[in-house]
Symmetry: D2
Subunit: 374 residues, 4 copies
């Protein structure tokens, strides 16, 4: 079983994670981790913070000569600005953030003590964990990608694009959108919102290719992989909705248009010609791509600040302006890739056991043969 905990504040010394349960024998490519951190920082519409941080991941344990040995893996990224102790008191909570409620819940007189941890800066640690999980999945030919499908009302049309094109075009787009026209319109919309000192949300899609059928289970409610993926993605800061395959459209379609008919061929085994289920039936992967969407609310820190209340004096006041991204949807997609990678890696380890990559592969190969023999 994979487990991980993250820690760290936005202006604390470091962001950290400990990941327990990775099999031995995985060569960890540190440059690959840093590349994920870099992908997380990109995106048209990001603010100054991204410019001052150039995150490099330190791997403090769990590797010997760059290979996992079964030990827990510790990851650390130091903050360039670690002034948490000296930063001024914040009394004006920002609507849409944890600010007010965190102060009430934890009995804190300074919103600063809340926003430091509630900040999406935490996702640096999660992306590190996810990067290693991606490298494990890569051993099994499983690949994960994300692309932006909506920003501020501009929707992309990508349904007919194959996985490889989506990956390629999303990586090129400044907003990680695989539809070139939409990509340009999204940038314009970001400029417009920025000009009005407002912010934008959007939606992205995560796709997992090459996953075997039978991960997850319907046997108990909390073992369904769609439920676990949903928890993982919804736990990302500012995410307000998660859906699979055709998503909320299933609410308006008839059964005959939704369910993916089953076919069989000698070469492919069982297969589908459609994937409205998003690769998940009965809480399990069905061998098709996992496809999930998530909706992200607009950045809650506006340069044109919203009405708030001073938590000490109770006077009406404008919310604090803490930072100034206009839109972080592309970055959220990268974080979601990690969140998804961790869950899929965990499901693989649960199904194929294996204390080492070699053992896991042996068990995996045995399962693939079993599938052929049914």
């Amino acid at each position: 079983m994979l487990r991980y905990l993250t820690s760290g504040e936005s202006h604390g010394k470091s962001l950290l994670a400990i990941l327990d349960g990775m099999p031995a024998g995985l060569h960890v490519d540190k440059a690959g981790i840093d590349n994920e951190l870099r992908r997380r920082m990109l995106g048209y519409g990001r603010g100054k913070r991204m410019a001052i941080e150039s995150d490099k991941m330190q791997v403090l344990s769990g590797l010997r000569r760059s290979v996992t040995i079964g030990s827990p893996i510790a990851l650390k990224v130091d903050n360039a600005d670690s002034s948490i102790d000296s930063l001024p008191v914040v009394l004006n909570p920002r609507p849409g953030h944890a600010d007010l409620i965190g102060a009430l819940k934890y009995g804190l007189g300074d919103v600063r003590s809340v926003l430091e941890r509630a900040s999406a800066r935490e996702t640096v640690a999660r992306v590190g964990v996810g990067a290693i999980c991606k490298q494990l999945l890569d051993e099994f030919g499983i690949r994960i990608a994300s692309h932006v499908i909506v920003i501020g009302g501009i929707a992309a049309e990508t349904r007919k694009l194959p996985f490889s094109r989506i990956v390629q075009q999303a990586e090129k787009s400044p907003v990680r959108c695989a539809d070139r026209v939409a990509s340009e319109l999204m940038c314009i919309e970001i400029d417009n919102a920025s000009g009005e000192r407002d912010t934008l949300g959007g939606a992205f899609e995560v796709i997992v290719k090459g996953v075997p059928p039978g991960l997850g289970s319907y046997a108990q409610w909390d073992r369904r992989l769609d439920a676990l993926l949903s928890r993982a993605v919804m736990s990302i800061q500012a995410i307000k909705g998660v859906s699979f395959g055709s998503g909320f459209e299933v609410a308006i379609l008839r059964g005959s248009k939704v369910h993916d008919e089953i076919f069989y061929s000698r070469n492919k085994g069982f297969f589908r010609k459609t994937n409205n289920a998003g690769g998940l039936e009965g809480g399990m992967t069905n061998g098709e791509d996992i496809v999930l969407q998530a909706a992200m609310k607009p950045i809650a820190t506006l340069r044109k600040p919203l009405a708030s209340v001073n938590i000490r004096t109770k006077e009406s006041i404008k919310a604090t302006v803490e930072r100034s991204d206009v839109c972080a949807v592309p970055a959220a997609g990268i974080v979601a890739e990690s969140a998804v990678a961790i869950e899929v890696a965990n499901a693989m380890i649960e199904k194929f056991g294996g204390d080492s990559v070699a053992e896991m592969k042996r068990n995996y190969d045995g399962y693939l043969k079993q599938l052929r023999k049914i």
Copy 2:
């Protein structure tokens, strides 16, 4: 900490649940549990199964003279039809169900052994657990309701209705829809789909009223209450999407239109005039109603069956017709009320500790006073 496991098959002897962690001193109203089971069976568009089962919950442990004593609570509903051992082999998996993948994963040569557990009949046990959690929440003035907002493309308009009206009108509607006109159209749409031997999905909303601010936490990814609620609701059979507050609409709105500004008055303390966040900020309740939506795919068993493959011969064939609901969205809403009740009850117990209801209330009252003093 609340924990529960359910068990039972669709045509097995019984559906069961064990719920661990309920505080002592709660008077459990058995009629209240049975009422929830009854609500779960209703809904225009349900099939014959609902007619033969009239579920009554037996409470086999955890109570003394109807009051909890800190012991785990065991719940059991017997199936009227418990012919699991003699039912015929099923070889034609239904697209959209766990059928095919379950057989592959567990190495089963008979789809029957899959569909018996994967069936939504399991939710009887969950509704039982949820009913008890609702009774605990009731001690704190917390109430949970659901109503259907879409069936087969017919959308309800309920934004301006207060909680009490939504509850009242949903309970009266044959499809649990609080918009009377939409309710009628939904019934017609169900008749139409039925006539074409097709099925319908839809969407519903769950609302939690009276929840204090500060349940859940941003401190660690898996402690966010929105993530936990999302896992719980997504784990319900056929759910493909979950969202909070304004949901996927946040993808198209600007920040200034989304975030709920903060106000203060002596009487109410901190409050909001809008609730686009659906009562959750930073993974915590903010004191406003929790509002979540979920999308349900159409029933996967069609009387006009879809293309499938015989798992033994590999021949193309039509899927098995196992049962014949046309639409189960109203029932799914009831199940989701339970899933939500369990998570909120767990969050209450985690925050207010308390081995007894009296202790929990004492701690809760202390917290309410603390909130006033900030």
Copy 3:
């Protein structure tokens, strides 16, 4: 991952368990389960309760034609006496039981509401779960036995007996002691204690034969198998100590006399000539028998009752006499077999994954080959 919850009170309707995570394809022998329940009730020195209960386990879910299908398994034993609601109030807590503290903790005014769940009657459910785990382990040639090594100061000498003799002789002895002379002395000691209206404790040993090397892990504190076994056995009512192999004797021996030297032969692979470690090194099985001891305190209900205090009036008074076993050490050994079986089965499932017994065996065989190749 195996998980289970038990429920039920001593004079409630039933004792129950739900076991989640058993692989599909295991033929469950119901007579084998009942045999374990019968073994649990035996033992010289047991009281009247054992005479009135002749427990039969009902399997309410998880099986189809006696074979597991991947679903959770529900077990139920009905109590012959289920008068919990009408039994009289108990105000005189028994020293050594949960009585007083349970009443304080849960805010209960009647000790009856505590002792009903705290009673060792609960172990019926655990023995049922353990019986199924034993049947899974049996598929891998793993066998578990227990024997009593001390009762009331009478110690058995069994170090030189092989596993098969210990099993055989313990099953024959009225106190489950494999040393015939000690067995007789123990019975006499029980009669003596009974004559003085006193009670006796003792110690037993659990042995697991045929376990592969490498279950458990040193990688994280809570993954060590000795720690998990310790938790499982210490959680049995009245157990006050747990040890492995040479146990507390390691405190007085030198390293050269304690550690089991390592040898190798073509036939056996790596092996030991001694087993002071009790089969566990670094929190992992080392391929030798797992050997653990546990100490059980004397039954806390004495017919010659101890000083206590009426919880309502606070007057000094004698403790309630609730039942009258003199010694339950042999039964505790049976319960511990189950507790151990569950942990070992879980460790097997974790290491070899496998949603079905066939898959698990394939992965297990692959691992055995890997061990030979090192």
Copy 4:
């Protein structure tokens, strides 16, 4: 709920821990943490490693101006020697260590990759976590101490000493033994063993003073505090036995001599005159001191090495000599203080909820009043 993960290897860069779930508002005394690390390194019979490491804990997250803010706390100690990548291959596994089995389990060709994590160096991280938990417990007047009761056959006599004397004398003794005469004999025994290039084990006791009644629960097997304490202490490297109160002596005593009779006075409430139960009845604290013992096997690395087998050539050979402590029982006691502190802190947080120390205290005070009113 408190959770923690540790990571780090003996010659890796750092030892780390992330602790999740500490309430806000605790002033963390860093010198207090370092003092615990210092206590862990002391003890007559330790080797050279202790001389080169002078551990200082860095707190990388979770504090603001030395006060907890509800965020996870990250701890780090850097190793003076972090040459893990360049250290030579080890092929001769040491009996009694994880060496051989770890290599088999994880498919590692070099025992070095096992011993680096399996080493008791890991306990640095656990002692850091425990030190913070001790500081939380201190807010409630709960104190934890340990003292050595056996080394190499020399037993201490401390039954009549009060807690304060045990603490005082153990801190002065070079082997942390509160019996002055035994302390001297233990040192001599260590010298003797050292002269013969052998090693020694022993036993220690951990005492927790000031704990309220009602922590832990009998309601479910894995909620019993004695079971949880047992898991925590047994998970410490080289521990082979754990017992409570009178421990294994209960096997030879009659019930009338074991169970602690119950008394009541206006001032004290319910109390006992004896504590054979070690403060735990029915899996719950009973308000008396928690008293537990643990047996530690002798150090497994002997300068007079044991027989082993080269894992590559399979030739008989002597085990590797990796380091050279003769006896580490005093240090193990310190580690066990931490393991116990974490479990007790977790039980306090579970019972009293509380996101802040202030809230936890308010709830705690309410419970104390409830206890008086029964």
